[in-house]
């Protein structure tokens, strides 16, 4: 006989509230629950009278498996009672539901929490406790292709909203007992499950302690997404770059954990966070490891170029056209000059406005329903791309620059936010001071990137500092057969 107590039923660290003991009659406990849930319509009860003992099953409709309730709880309970009369609920549970996942709870708070988690609880007359059976079955999103991180040759499985499914996805990829997963509850009202995952034999203990402490210190009312926890995990919040990464792919997270990083899976969110994240991570993708190394080299070079185009090209274009036209070949310079001279606005103003409009169109495309989103794209393309040029409001070269910038920024989705911000800074710098301004802004950008040290590890690694063997997976990637290529642990970067 066994009473397995799942982690699921453990009292979370954060909810150390006053505890109300359960009453010794099923009816009183029913009243307590109804008061706790404010007579919520989805709180349901099933009364069973067996051998003169009133047993009440309570559950939240839609949160648990009803078939499990009738087939695995009520039916065996009724059948068992008819054969043999048992005095206590504990004894009934241990004999009837032998081997089933169950727990004995003594307080109202534990009971409500368990009900919310999708369990079914049984009360009996004369017993000041209840037996809880884990049977969650609520509607949730299925494991599907990750929308924001498409891969050409990678797995088609992405994280979904339910954290247990996500943990399963991780377990399937890292089949080792070294994969440790610790659950926390964060959010005073939302009581969101947050799981910290790491490979015990790879993780840096200081890093692990630091992450746990930061999560424990969060004083949030609710956690509705990964973004709520990011500021608490970020060691430096006053820069556009974050030392906390997010991924929708379990294989990417598995690779991160293998490098000694820590993953954070949040219930109700298909994005898992990982710490620490370095600048170079934005330019690496899982496909890099699934293709031939020479092609990987090309891909990474493209992404780096994409970053520079996306952040600096509009600024450079403005700087060159306004201050340094001699940089361009004469015929190109003439064509651009003619085109620009036909527009009414100064080039800097034009660049800022058109990029602002681009960001509006992008935002609208993201937020609008898919059907309307297409319409927004068409209107945006027609208004900006055609009508504005025909009306002579925008120069064609500027439009080409915007298009190139937009396409380049699409390569690096994870770093879109800082890139969009930096783009405006570079336009202003280039428009005000030419290449001198661009160079100053670039210098400040480099120093800013170099100044970030998430969890005492340089964000700029392996550009600078460059620990041994890190060049083998920077722009170039050595073949998988290369032994040096296989063991990389981020704790080597810690100073």
């Amino acid at each position: 006989m066994q009473n397995k107590t799942d982690n699921h039923h453990k009292k979370p660290e954060q909810s150390q509230k006053t505890s109300t003991p359960l009453e010794d009659t099923a009816y009183k406990n029913k009243i307590l629950l109804m008061q706790a849930f404010g007579n919520s319509f989805d709180l349901m009860f099933r009364e069973i009278e067996c051998g003169g003992k009133a047993i009440t099953a309570a559950f939240l409709d839609g949160m648990c498996d009803r078939l499990f309730l009738t087939q695995s709880l009520i039916k065996p309970l009724c059948e068992h009672i008819t054969e043999e009369k048992t005095s206590s609920l504990k004894q009934i549970c241990s004999s009837v539901f032998e081997g089933m996942e169950q727990a004995i709870l003594h307080t109202l708070e534990e009971t409500t929490e368990t009900l919310i988690a999708g369990s079914i609880v049984l009360f009996a007359d004369g017993e000041a406790y209840c037996a809880a059976f884990n049977a969650p079955n609520f509607s949730k999103s299925n494991v599907s292709d990750p929308l924001s991180e498409q891969q050409e040759k990678g797995s088609r499985e992405g994280f979904c909203d339910f954290f247990k499914d996500n943990i399963t996805l991780m377990r399937r990829r890292l089949r080792t007992s070294q994969l440790h997963i610790e659950r926390m509850v964060i959010g005073k009202t939302s009581n969101t499950y947050v799981c910290v995952c790491y490979l015990a034999d790879r993780v840096d203990n200081k890093l692990l302690q630091d992450v746990k402490q930061r999560l424990a210190k969060t004083n949030l009312e609710m956690v509705l997404g990964a973004g709520y926890l990011r500021p608490f995990l970020d060691t430096k919040t006053k820069t556009p770059f974050s030392g906390v990464g997010a991924t929708e792919r379990p294989d990417t997270l598995a690779a991160m954990l293998t490098e000694g990083r820590i993953g954070i899976i949040i219930d109700g969110n298909p994005f898992a966070l990982f710490v620490p994240q370095f600048f170079i991570d934005h330019f690496h993708s899982l496909d890099d490891y699934l293709t031939r190394p020479y092609y990987t080299f090309l891909l990474r070079l493209l992404r780096l170029t994409g970053f520079f185009i996306s952040t600096m090209l509009p600024g450079l274009f403005v700087a060159v056209c306004v201050f340094h036209p001699e940089l361009l070949p004469v015929n190109v310079m003439f064509d651009i000059a003619v085109s620009i001279s036909q527009t009414p606005f100064p080039l800097v103003f034009e660049a800022i406005i058109i990029h602002f409009i681009y960001e509006i169109v992008r935002e609208a495309g993201l937020r609008m329903p898919k059907m309307v989103g297409h319409a927004v794209s068409i209107v945006g393309a027609l208004v900006i791309g055609d009508a504005a040029v025909t009306a002579g409001l925008i120069a064609v070269p500027m439009l080409i620059v915007v298009a190139l910038t937009a396409i380049s920024s699409a390569i690096l989705q994870g770093i879109h936010e800082p890139m969009a911000l930096l783009r405006f800074i570079f336009i202003i710098a280039g428009g005000a001071m030419g290449l001198f301004g661009i160079a100053l802004a670039a210098g400040a950008l480099i120093v800013t990137i170099c100044s970030i040290s998430p969890y005492s590890m340089p964000y700029s690694v392996p550009f600078s500092p460059t620990p041994r063997n890190t060049w083998q997976d920077l722009i170039l990637r050595k073949d998988h057969t290369n032994k040096k290529n296989q063991q990389k642990n981020i704790s080597d970067y810690r100073y």
Binding site: E326, L327, P329, M433, L435, A439, L440, I446, S464, Y495
Partner: protein, 364 residues
Amino acid sequence: MKTGQNTISSFQLFSMIYIFRMVATFTYMLRIRAPLESTDRAIMAIAYFVFSLLFALPVFLCIGKQPYNSVLTLAGTNRHKWTKPVAMYYAFTFIWAAGVAAARFSLFSGIVLLQQENLNIFIFVLLAVSIYCASKGLEPLARAGSVMSVLLFVSLILMTGTVIKDFDTLYLQPPLQSGLSAVIYQGFHSACRNIETTSLLFTASHTKGNLRKGYLIWLVFFCVQLAALFLLVGGIAAEYGNLQMFPLYTLAALAKIGILERMDDLLTGVWVICALLKIAYLLHTSVAAIEEGFQNKYNRNKLLIAGGILVFAANLFLSQNIEFFGKFIASPVNPVLFMIATVVLPLLIFAKNRTKKTAVRGKT
């Protein structure tokens, strides 16, 4: 071994110093110095090497056996009454050097980069960004410096690769045509501008790795590159190079690849970042001197802003016109400031420590 935040490697330190010296080389003004023939400028690199090595000896003597302490800690183990004046002197020297660098860059920008603009605004912005960069600390500067050193080296290789086809030994003058004394004098003067050697007195305590070896490798590498660049200018631009204010910039102006007919502006972009880092580094070091001398009595950011204002004032004073700047730079002010900071004070501190140690040993 030194570990922890704000610790840099000797590679990062010397990469950073390399780009700072290269910035000085790019803004090397030919006409304001005693003119040297092209080949002699390359030979000057040998004199520069020797003098730099000599000037580095007191610095390494001072920090050599106690690399974990900066020069002021050594100077004032018991908070000597001279600690504060010494700290202020070093801070002034670094700010002055930053001012000279800013003025030199201002003149360079005025002549080749932004002829029609009000450069004081540009230098003001440069200093504002430098203060921002310096406020980040030594480590980000060193990391950025090592990244930029690679970029700078690549840009130099690119520039050399595109102009090397025009190199002709016939353009080169016979060696020592300007006279040996002129070459030695120029080498001495150039070595006296190597304020980065002085800064080692403050950054050595934050650096891990073999400093002596790093310094020697850096010096050899830099001098070879200096000689090669001056030879290149002589062998490509010939007498035309001698007529230019900034001979190395002339070389960049001659470089072109495909449709990019003017690479000088792009190369100058890299040099601007290097100049920014140099001024930020000097500001940081001057504040480090004050912080150490006054035991962190003042707010770091306020000190940086004050330092930035002083650098701007020095820049305004020095960059009035090119003749004035030339005369001032050729005057003994800079060498004297440098020699006191790099040779006299470190030797005095070394001697004082030696005497103290001998006295302690005698007592025990």
